[in-house]
Symmetry: C2
Subunit: 338 residues, 2 copies
């Protein structure tokens, strides 16, 4: 029910995902009347055995405080969907709703994995690997945690490494710590402490500090930072990309001549757009929970929301929470042994 568009995006995206992934089944959680109407409006055939509706009488508003959502919205679509993961009626929950509320409810209902203190939000970002296809980097945390300690950053590194290894099929993912320089003397106390912890264990393939410019150059498969820094990095990147695209659009629509050139250049401009299309990276995981919860960007369209569903499906297939749990247990065992 959440996000900027609610069922009008979620329902068609769900049908798209069902169509392309035969093993997938979906439970649409929310206002049953609205959902049925939207399904009817789609007027397309789908495998009805693989879609069910689950009524929820309330919904969490986009600007509602996480604490209030947790306390008072016991029958919100978000809460009900997460409950379904808890009771194992669903393998994963995908939501485009209020991030803070999703995090708070998921943490309360599903609990953290043993050995993990805080959930982290991990995004995929495009990286330029100098080839036809863009690469992909997993970056975390992107907003769940401000004021992190080194130990938290260390846990993020372990979780991100598991995800990149399992979902992106990278055998030994390179983990970088985001810092303001590559020298060991630079950076905040938390970053230095995390670097020390990561250097002392072989549990992740830690490659050292990386800088903001390196994120998009494919120097690491996993980039670790606290939620404040990550959120600012992500949103600044979005901001500068939007500015560049606006400038390009303005110059190409300036007058009759430039519009003609734009028409000629259209296949190239479309190719550029499709390479950098953010919808193919949509679907942020809430890692560290005892269950799979995926956050879709609030303004994701049909293609983006479908991608978030596919991310959830992949995490189910690869059993991400269990993998993270056993990595952390292995680490804790190892540190005890020392």
């Amino acid at each position: 029910m959440g996000g900027d568009y609610g069922p009008s995006v979620v329902v068609p995206a769900a049908l798209d995902a069902l169509e392309s992934h035969p093993k997938l089944s979906l439970i649409l959680v929310g206002d049953e009347t609205m959902l049925s109407q939207q399904l009817a409006r789609e007027s397309r055939s789908y495998d009805a055995a693989r879609v069910s509706l689950h009524h929820a009488s309330e919904q969490v508003k986009m600007d509602e405080s996480p604490a209030a959502a947790l306390r008072f919205k016991k029958d919100s679509s978000m809460r009900v969907a997460i409950n379904l993961v808890k009771t194992k009626e669903a393998h994963a929950c995908v939501s485009a709703g209020n991030t803070g509320a999703l995090m708070a409810i998921a943490r309360f209902v599903l609990k953290m994995l043993p050995g993990i203190d805080r959930p982290a939000i991990v995004y995929s970002l495009p990286v330029n690997v100098g080839q036809e296809k863009m690469g992909r980097v997993r970056m975390l945390d992107l907003g769940a945690n401000v004021d992190c300690q080194g130990e938290h950053l260390f846990q993020f590194a372990v979780m991100g490494s598991v995800l990149a290894g399992a979902i992106d099929n990278i055998p030994n993912p390179r983990v970088g710590l985001l810092n303001i320089g590559s020298e060991a003397i630079k950076g905040s106390e938390a970053v230095k402490e995390a670097a020390r912890l990561l250097s002392e264990t072989p549990i992740t393939n830690y490659i050292g500090f990386i800088e903001g410019t390196d994120i998009y150059q494919g120097k690491a498969d996993v980039v670790v930072c606290d939620g404040f820094v990550g959120n600012v990095a992500l949103k600044s990147s979005e901001g500068v990309a939007k500015m560049l695209i606006d400038v390009i659009r303005r110059e190409f629509t300036r007058n009759f001549y430039t519009k003609l050139v734009a028409l000629i250049a259209m296949p190239i401009l479309n190719a550029i757009r499709s390479r950098c299309d953010p919808s193919q990276y949509n679907g942020a995981s809430l890692l560290g929970l005892n269950g799979i919860v995926i956050k879709s960007h609030g303004n994701a369209q049909r293609k983006g929301f479908k991608q978030a569903i596919i991310e959830a499906m992949l995490e189910v297939e690869k059993n991400i929470p269990e993998k993270i749990g056993s990595e952390v247990q292995a680490y804790l065992g190892e540190s005890k042994a020392v």
Copy 2:
């Protein structure tokens, strides 16, 4: 002597600046032989009365530790140039060298203004104001200070506001605090404390929290954050811009047809490039010092370094350190009165 190119960029840029600004005089500090050779190599006429050479036998290396540079390089071009500001033989110092060393030496030699705890690095960034010309935002701190307190962010806000008011001719510059959301409950403790301090005094036109995406949309004239966050925001932005430009270049040079289109679109592509040309924003001020020191980007070319010289000249004309000093004194007087 510093930066990626040394005198081969600095000398021609200096002559360009002299040519376009008749009131300007320059002292070139560094290896006298190298500087004379470079001047001779330029083979152009210039007003010799307005250029002098000042020999310095050493130079700070780009990867040298600030502490070592401060302690052992007493006759480096950087140290000598800052000494000239101290003794009032120069009004300002411009350097493309090692940022950390420049900061440490400037702080040691020039001292801080009373009431300011730490120097801050302030950059200009382009913003999209939906018009022909791009706007400009001043952002600080961009790397001098990690682990800031609210009080430091407050001081950055005051300094940035003075700079934007005096140099960018903005009567009442809008000051925003960079945060991960616009709600008061979000953010780190330091940011919340800074917000409280800024709300309680009319000394700056504080407009509240702004997010990463807002930086490039012209929502504020001054954006305040700690050095870690600012550095990551700046470098992530550079990284994503570089990635987009690389993708555009690749698509336009893919084959004969796309190259032909590129040729036709050349005037448009050039217009886009010139709008976003970073050299026009080069020249970062080290604010809070008792003197004017401008840091040019290490990889700045001639046009960029000239811009840094012009920034220094404007700050001299507007007497920035004195203005900051009196704003801070006014604030301190006001808080004492309360």
